[in-house]
Symmetry: C2
Subunit: 377 residues, 2 copies
Amino acid sequence: MRRSELQTPALLVDETRFERNVGRMNARLARLRVPLRPHLKTVKNIELARRMLAGHPGGATVSTLAEADHFFDAGIDDLLYAVGIAPGKIEDVARRIGRGMNLTLVLDHPETARAVADAARRLDVPFRVLLEVDADGQRAGFRPDDPGLIESARRLERGGALPAGVMVHAGGSYACRDRAGLVEIAKQERDVAVAAAGALREAGFEAPVVSAGSTPTALFADDLAGVTEVRAGVYAFMDLVMAGLGVCEIDEIAVSVLTEVIGHRRAPGEVLIDAGWMALSRDRGTAGQAVDRGYGVVCDDAGRVLAPEVIVRATHQEHGLLARRDGEPLDLAGFPIGRRLRILPNHACATAGQFERMWWIDAGAASIEPLDRCRGW
Amino acid sequence: MRRSELQTPALLVDETRFERNVGRMNARLARLRVPLRPHLKTVKNIELARRMLAGHPGGATVSTLAEADHFFDAGIDDLLYAVGIAPGKIEDVARRIGRGMNLTLVLDHPETARAVADAARRLDVPFRVLLEVDADGQRAGFRPDDPGLIESARRLERGGALPAGVMVHAGGSYACRDRAGLVEIAKQERDVAVAAAGALREAGFEAPVVSAGSTPTALFADDLAGVTEVRAGVYAFMDLVMAGLGVCEIDEIAVSVLTEVIGHRRAPGEVLIDAGWMALSRDRGTAGQAVDRGYGVVCDDAGRVLAPEVIVRATHQEHGLLARRDGEPLDLAGFPIGRRLRILPNHACATAGQFERMWWIDAGAASIEPLDRCRGW
């Protein structure tokens, strides 16, 4: 299909930018001598997953059991399900392990460890588990000195499950303001992970796995000694939040939403498009950054930013409103009815999550190819 | 299936509340003597659509061509596509009309009218069109005295298309603060629609259709004289934004997300759940209301609000964080690992839009039934 035949709104992925972003992460991790376990919650597609996995050991990270099934069915069998396991999902996990999926769980509470240990005993399944550790007080995880960490490992082991090490994710890296902050939080993430693994080893556990990461910490870490694998996902697409953090440039963002001009608001000088929050998502990740980019930055049909001031100011379910950040009216003559534009998103995971299909823009080809995405839970 | 067997997160619809909400709208419109053309973008499901259509003429409103296909295939053939038509979609529309779909378009710009007229001539398809009118300066539409309104109707007619009347949606009703404001904006919506239809009739057009509405204006209008059909969709589910407007009570919200406790944050006294923004959506519609309810209000597994202060404070892709609005710690003993809860959403359309399937909780049955949802564009 040609891009001009695509019905709007549509999610586009630019091959040249995608490959450059993947290459950048690979080069960085090669210097740090740590392999990648890519997080596939961003791309949710097997062909892009294979490009991210090339040159790495082959294990991947997922955020839902639906993703685990999707990628397992396509041949990726070493999968880390990186959300604290819900007791209600343990039997579902056991069934997957029974089908040959090498699925690793995470947990951060002794009561969850008890539930997993009980299930391991009852079902005779040696669940492999990483203990989640908290680097920045933002979300989940044991503090490295929490006695619950060792207690949980012991419970798992007694039940016949395998406490295989630790996992940490410094989500606080998304709130950094500069390069020094990113370097510092990457150090903190590594230090906490290594300390927790050390605590487990002192208590007699082997703890072979020390899994750490996020896109900002992976790209800005100075040293990852002691970390055995890095997890990152958004690096392949990048987005305006990453650009606002200084992790990438706006013209390195590989994902965009194709849309069409459907109306004008003459008085305020605004433009209506056929991409609302159903397509762009309600994510406003740049709202707390130095430059608030609304629901996204507007590009021409070839992906070139029109002007950094031109953003999607507001969204309704299927309508978006383009405006200038400074409140000056847009020159409506530049936005004729039917003009096609592309919107760069705040948060690639959230925007891509609104679509069941992406369209791959191959640098060398006139045509575009569909890429299906995994959905649901 | 029993509810206890559902994997979390899952979208639930409570039959008792749904039927009460539908009955309330029907009673209101019966008093106002105006039929309903329900907007199906909220439910996106044929069985719920049929319950909303019962007792009305049978026409419905959609926000995407995918919805139009979904409902047409299930036997609903009178469909209003209530988003300004993108020129790039006109040929797709023509194909649908060729298959027997009675699809009405809307537009609000003379250039769009020209594109539709040209296509009508070229393809010999008598597109049926409503001219969108602006009641509140929020989004799209001609002002009733805009000469472009008549000019567009003339262009359509000359091309062989049918300008069938006007459509108005007072989205500004979502920003009202009290009952008086809702009554006032409902009046404004009606007055603008009737004035625009009057302008068309003065210019010689029949303008049989005067389509108006939103859930708040439909429920609070005192008088809809001159309006020939009302459009509303969210009324069937209701949500926290509607409750914040005074349009419903919190315990009338029919839709919720089932989730499970997966962790505790002891220091701040917060609870981790397995529903993040991928399930709840990023919608923060109550953020601008008198009471900001975060990403949703927390209920027990039977749908009873725990306490109005207990909300989803923050979300990550697949994690939610429960906290109290007043910042006091939650009593974690009340949230054991594995406890199931339900979250009432800010915006029913946005949260439901994250799911491919809903689960219908029949008041009289122990089991639950799946309801598929239309997705995409």
